[in-house]
Symmetry: D2
Subunit: 405 residues, 4 copies
C-alpha cells in the first residue's frame, strides 16, 4: 500500500523565492498546492504564474481573483475606519494578509492539507500577520516558512534553484523589495535605508513626481452611501473599479507618496516608502463627509477607535474578537455618512473643495432657524458659567488656601 504524501498549501507569487519553496517543500516530503492571489497588483500574468507553479513541481496550481472581495471586505472597513498606522500608512500589505490567510485555510481544508506555507522573512510584519491569522482560523494547522527556516544567502538560493531545475531570472535584481495591491504599493530596503537620504525617483511606480504632474487640476466628485464609496463623478462603479480608476488619476497628479520611519511589530524601526493615491483621496473625502454628517460626540470619539483599529490591523489581529467588536462600532457609525464630496487633485494635493449631504448637520436654514432660538446671550452665558465652574471653584479654593498661608 502506498501512503499519500501530506499536503501543504503555499502562497505562491511566481517569483524565485516561492518557486524555490515549492522545491524545498517537495523535498521535505510534501505534495504542494500553489495558490496565487490577485488583489489588484498592477501587472500580473496569472495564467503564466499558474503554469509556472506546476512547472516547478506543485501538484496543483490555483489562481484566486480576490479583487472584489479585497475591496469590499478588507479595504472598505479600513476606509470606514480612516485607518492609517502611525497616522500615515494606509495599511496596504497589512490588509491583504488576512484575506490571503483565509483563502489558504479554506483551500487547505478543501484539499485535506495539514500545512500552510508562506515566504516571509524573519524581520518583517507579514510573517506575524500570516501565522496569527492562520492560527486564528485553523488553530492546529502546521505552518511552514522555508525562507525564515533555511536562511539561504542569495547565492545559496540560486544554487538550490539550479539543483532543482527552477529557472533563475537573468535580469539584475531590483534594489527594492515591493509589495503591491489595489490599495497601494510598499517599498523598503536597499538605498532607502539611510533616512537622511531622500527617496530616489525610481522607488516610485504609481505616482508622478510633482515636477511631472499636469498643470491643470482634476476635479472629481466622490459619492458615498453609508460610508461606502459608490460613484465617481456621478457614475456608479464597483468598489474595486472605483479605487483603480481613482488611483490612476490621483497618481498622475502626484498624490499619495509616503516616506515614513515606521515602528514594526517585531520591535525595530524601518524606513518605508509607500504610494497610495486612491487611499489618500478616499480617506480625506470620507473624513470630510464625516465632518459634515457626524454628530460631534461621535465625531470626536471615532478617532480613538480608529487609532486602535489601525494598530490591530498592523499588528496581525484582523481575526480577533476585539477587531470584531471595534468594527461593530465602525459599522454603526457609518449610517449617516451619505453624500458627495468635490475633490480637486492638483500637484500632489487633495483639496476637498465642497461637500453636501441630505443628512448634513451643517444646514444654513436650520442654523438660521435655531440661532434665534439657541444663541441668545443667555444660553452662552449659562453654558460658560457651568462649563468653567470646576476651574473657577478650583481657583477660589486655591486662592483662599494661599491667602491663609
Amino acid at each position: 500500500m502506498i501512503m499519500a504524501n501530506p499536503k501543504v498549501v503555499l502562497a505562491y507569487s511566481g517569483g524565485l523565492d516561492t518557486s524555490v519553496e515549492i522545491a524545498w517543500l517537495k523535498n521535505a516530503g510534501y505534495d504542494v498546492i500553489a495558490v496565487c492571489f490577485n488583489v489588484g497588483e498592477e501587472e500580473m500574468d496569472l495564467s503564466a504564474i499558474k503554469q509556472k507553479g506546476l512547472d516547478v513541481g506543485a501538484i496543483e496550481s490555483i489562481v484566486v481573483d480576490a479583487r472584489h472581495e479585497f475591496a469590499t471586505e478588507y479595504v472598505l472597513p479600513a476606509l470606514q475606519a480612516n485607518a492609517l498606522y502611525e497616522g500615515v500608512y494606509p495599511l496596504v500589505s497589512a490588509l491583504s494578509r488576512p484575506l490571503i490567510s483565509k483563502h489558504l485555510v479554506e483551500i487547505a481544508k478543501e484539499y485535506g492539507a495539514v500545512a500552510i506555507a508562506h515566504g516571509c522573512t524573519g524581520k518583517g510584519n507579514d510573517q506575524v500577520r500570516f501565522e496569527v491569522s492562520i492560527h486564528a482560523l485553523a488553530p492546529d494547522m502546521i505552518i511552514e516558512d522555508p525562507i525564515r527556516e533555511v536562511h539561504w544567502s542569495r547565492e545559496e538560493e540560486i544554487a538550490y534553484a539550479k539543483d532543482n531545475n527552477i529557472p533563475v531570472p537573468i535580469t539584475k535584481e531590483s534594489p527594492y523589495s515591493i509589495d503591491e495591491n489595489l490599495w497601494g504599493r510598499a517599498n523598503e530596503a536597499g538605498v532607502l535605508e539611510d533616512p537622511w537620504v531622500g527617496a530616489p525617483e525610481d522607488a516610485f511606480a504609481r505616482t508622478n513626481s510633482l515636477e511631472n504632474t499636469p498643470d491643470t487640476p482634476a476635479v472629481v466628485e466622490l459619492s458615498f452611501v453609508q460610508g461606502i464609496p459608490t460613484a465617481l463623478n456621478g457614475k456608479e462603479l464597483p468598489l474595486e473599479e472605483l479605487i483603480a480608476q481613482l488611483d490612476h488619476l490621483a497618481g498622475q497628479h502626484g498624490i499619495g507618496r509616503i516616506d515614513h520611519i515606521e515602528n514594526r511589530l517585531v520591535g525595530i524601526k524601518s524606513r518605508e516608502v509607500y504610494e497610495a493615491p486612491a487611499a489618500e483621496v478616499l480617506i480625506k473625502a470620507h473624513q470630510d463627509l464625516e465632518n459634515l454628517t457626524m454628530e460631534r460626540g461621535l465625531g470626536h470619539y471615532k478617532p480613538v477607535i480608529e487609532h486602535e483599529i489601525s494598530n490591530l490591523i498592523y499588528n496581525a489581529q484582523w481575526f480577533s474578537p476585539l477587531f470584531n467588536s471595534l468594527m461593530a462600532f465602525i459599522k454603526a457609525s457609518q449610517t449617516d455618512v451619505t453624500g458627495t464630496v468635490r475633490v480637486k487633485l492638483f500637484k500632489g494635493n487633495v483639496i476637498c473643495e465642497g461637500r453636501k449631504s441630505p443628512l448634513s448637520l451643517y444646514n444654513e436654514d436650520l442654523a438660521t432657524y435655531t440661532s434665534s432660538d439657541s444663541f441668545d446671550h443667555e444660553s452662552a452665558n449659562g453654558f460658560i458659567k457651568l462649563w468653567g465652574l470646576p476651574t473657577q471653584v478650583y481657583a477660589q479654593v486655591h486662592q483662599h488656601a494661599e491667602q491663609k498661608d
Copy 2:
C-alpha cells in the same frame, strides 16, 4: 468726597466693535483701560491703536508686545503636542486667548480693576475661552461682554458710535471675520457659509494659490533641540522669528490652507477657512523627527494625549489642572526629540525628505549589529507563537464548542 469710578480692563483691537465698547463701558460708569496685544498679526500700527483707545474715551491705553511670550509659552507647547483640533486645525485663535486673558488679569490686578471686558459674539468659542480663562485666574472678576449683552445690529452699532463720537470706517465692510496671529489666520462667515461652495481666492491672505506658487521648490533644514525648533537652515533664531520667516516662505509655496467643517464648543457646526503655513511645516517636521527618535511605546501613546490636549485647548481649558498634567507628559516626552529634518516646500506640499539625529533609534550600524543577535528565526518564531496565542486558544475553544453542538 468724589468716589472713583470702578475700572474695567478691555481687550482692545482698535476696530469699530471694541471702540464702541469703550463708549458703552464708559456710559455704564466704568473707567476703561484699553489693552491692545501684538501676538504676531501681520500688519498692526500699535501706536495708532494706542492713541485711538485714548481718543475714544479710555483713561489708559496699553500696548503689549507678546510675540516672544506667545511663541515660547503658547505655540511651543502646542507644537510639541502636535496639537490639531479635529486632526486639522492648529488652534490659532485658541492659543492666543489664554495669553490675552492672563495679561488682562494681571493688568486688572495692577490697576485695581473690578472687571474685564472682551468683545466676542455669543455664537463663538472665544467668549468661552476668555471667560473660563479669566475665571480660572481670577475667580471673582466681573466679566463684561457688551457685544453679546446688547446685540446691536450693524446700523444700531454705527448709530451708537456716531452718538459717542467714535469714528466709523468709510470703507465697505469686509465680508469676512478674521482673527490672526503668528501661528495662523482664521476666516469664517459670509460667502464661506455654504460648504458645497469652494472658498474664494480673496478669503486667503498669507498663502499663494497653487497656481501662483514658484516652480522651484524651497528646501529648508529645521533643527530641533528637545522638541524646540532652534534653527532654520542652520541659523539659530528666536522662535517667533523662525516661525515668521518660515510662515512667509511656506505661504509663498501655497502651504497651509485648511477648509474645515468644525464642531464648535457651543454645539454647532461651522465652516472655517484657515491659513497656517508655518504651523503645517513645523508640525510635520516635528512629527517626522519624533518618528526617528521616539521609542515605539511612547510614540504610539503620545497621539492619545495629543488628541486630549487639542480638545482642551479648543475647549477653553488651558488654565486647568488636567492641562498642566498633560503638559508634564508632553514635556517629558520631548527629551530625545533632537535633530534635523530636511523639508521640501513645493506646490502646497510639505515633504520631509530626510531626517537625522544623534539619538536616532533607526541606526543602520546598530540595526546590522543587533540583527544577528535579535532576528534569528527563533526570536520571530517564539514571538509569533505567544503574540498569537490568545486568538489561537480562542479558536481552539470555539472549534471544540462547535463540534460538540
Copy 3:
C-alpha cells in the same frame, strides 16, 4: 368657537412638588396629562398616585409599568458595559431618565401635546438628562420646568399648594432627597453634606448595616447567556424579577452601599450616598465571567469603552449617535459571555468563588495540551527578545550617545 388649551405631559410622582406643578401648569393655561412611572421603586401605590393626579387637576392621569422595559433595555446594556460612573456609581437615576423621556415623548405625540414638564431642580443632573433626551427625540418640543423656573421656597410652595387645594403632607419632611428604582437608590443632601461626617444609618433603606447582617453567608449561582443574566441558582427568571430577588438578598447581607464625592455634570462636586445591592453583585459576577471567556485583547480594551459609556449615560447622552455606536461594540463583545458564577454574599462582601463556562478560555486540558506546544523556552525566549527590543535599542543608542559626550 372655543379654542382647546395646549396640552402638556408631566412626569408625575404623586409628591408635593409635582402636584404643585400640575396646578402651576394649569394656571399657565395648559391641560395637564400626568404620567407616573413604575421603574421598580420599592413601595408605590400606583392607583392612588393616578387618582391623586386627577384630584389635583390633571385632565388625564396615566400609569406606566416600565419595570420589564427598564430592566431589559436600560439596565441590561449598562450591566453589559459594567457601567460605573467614576468607577463606583451604577448610574441608578441616570438610567431611568431616558426611559421616562421616551415615554413622555410618545405620550405627548399620542395626545398632541406641545410641551413636556418635569420637576427637577436647577442644580442637578436630572434636568439635563430629561431635556437633552426629550430634544434628542422631539427636537421641537417645549419643555417646562416650573420648579427651576419659579424657585419657590418651601413656605411659598406650601402656600401655593394650599391656594390651589393641593393636600400638603402633615408628616415632617425627610431630611433626604431620594430617587429610587430597580437598580438602586440615591440619597443626597441634608446631613450628608459634610463629607467628613459618616452617613447616618437612617440614610439607608435597602441594605442592612454590617452589624445587622446574617452570620451565615448566602451562596448564589448566577447564570448568564451572552452577557444576559438568565437564572438565579439555576432557576430562570425574567430580568426584573432576578434583579429584585437578588437585590433583596444582597441587601440583607449589607452589600451595595456607596458613599461618593461625585462630579456633577453641572460643574459642582456633591456628596452622594447610594444603595445598589443587585447592581454590585451582578456587575462583579459579570466581570468575573468576562475574565474567563473574553480574549485578552477585547478584555483589555473594553474598559476604555466602558469608561466612555458610563460618562455618556451620566452626562445625558443616552439618545446620541455615539452611544449607539458604543453599544454596538458592547453587544458584539458579549457573544461569548455565557456561563455560571458562584458568588458568596457575606458581611458586605461579594466574593466570586468559582466560575465556569462552555467557552472558558481557561481550560486545564487545553492548557496542558498547548503548553508542550507553546511554552518551550524558545517561544518565551524569542518573545522576550522582540518584546524588549525597542527599549533595548533605546538603551544602546543612549549609552552610546552618553559615552560620546
Copy 4:
C-alpha cells in the same frame, strides 16, 4: 597565567531552585555572585540565606535591604496611579522586578560581571520583567535562566542538587507557588487551577477568613501630603512602616483577598490568588481623597492614564520612555492630593466614612456662596441648551429627512 572566570550576578532566594542554579552556573564556568533582596517579605532570615549562598558555591553573597527604596520608588508611584492590573491586581510582584533588576545591573557593573541570572519559569510574566528591565538598563548584558534553559523535572533537580552537595529540604513541598513583598502576596498553581473550585483557606497567609475577623471595626485615619501617605492615625511614619502596620491591621479584618482569572503577558489565562490588605486600603483612601481635591477634568482623565500605567507595569515596561512620561503626568496630578481620610476596616470591607482637605473642592461655604451666583435657572437653562444642541440638531435633520422620504 590563569584566566579569571567570567562573573554572573544571580538573584538568589535561598530556596532549592536558585541554590541549584548556583551549582549550574558554576559548572558552566561562571563565578557566581548571589544577591538576596529584602523587599518586605514577612519572614526572612537574611544572614542564613547569605551564608547558604556561600555554602552552595557562590564566590560572593550579598544581601540588599530594599524596603525603603521599594516603598518610596516603586510602590508609591503605583499607589499614586491607583495601579490595578485588570482592575483588581495591585501589581505586587510586577513592582519588585524592576527594583531587583536595577540592583542586579548595578552590582554586575560594580563587580565587572558579564551576565545576570534569574530563576523564572518559561510560562510566567516575571522572566519578561527581569529580562526586559535588565536590557533596558544594560542592553549588552548576557542573561542566564537555567530553570527555563534546562527544564529539570522535580526528580532531576533533586538529583542534580545531591550531585552538587546542595541540601534538599526534607519537608514536603508546598502545593503553592508564592511570591511576596511589602505590597502583597501572590499565590498560584496547584489546587487553585480549577477556576470553579473556591480557593482553600490554606492558600492565604496574610488575611483572616471573614469568619475569623474581629467583631469590632478598626477605624483609622490616613493622612496624605501631595499623594504620599504620611501618617496613620496622626502618627507620621516612614512609608514602608506605614504600609506594614496597615497591612497587618487590615489583614486581621479580612481585607485584601483577590481571586482573579488573569491574562498573562505570555498569552495564557491563569488563576491567581492574591492578598494585598494595605494596598486595598491605601488605594481606596487615595482615590477617595482624589475625589475630594481633584478638579473634574483631571479626575475624569486620570483613569485613562492609570489603565495604561497598570498595563505597562504588568507588561515589563517600567524602564521605558512611555512610563517616564506617564509618571510625569501622575506626579503633576498629585500636587493637591493633601488631606485625611477616615477609613473603617470591618469584616473584609474598606469603608471610607469621611474625608477632609484644606484643598477640598467640596466646600459647603463656597458651595452656598457660589450657588447664588452660578445656579440660577438661567445658567442651567443655557448650559442644557448648548450641551444638548448637537443631538437636537441631529434629531431635527433626521426628522426632516424622514418626512421627505
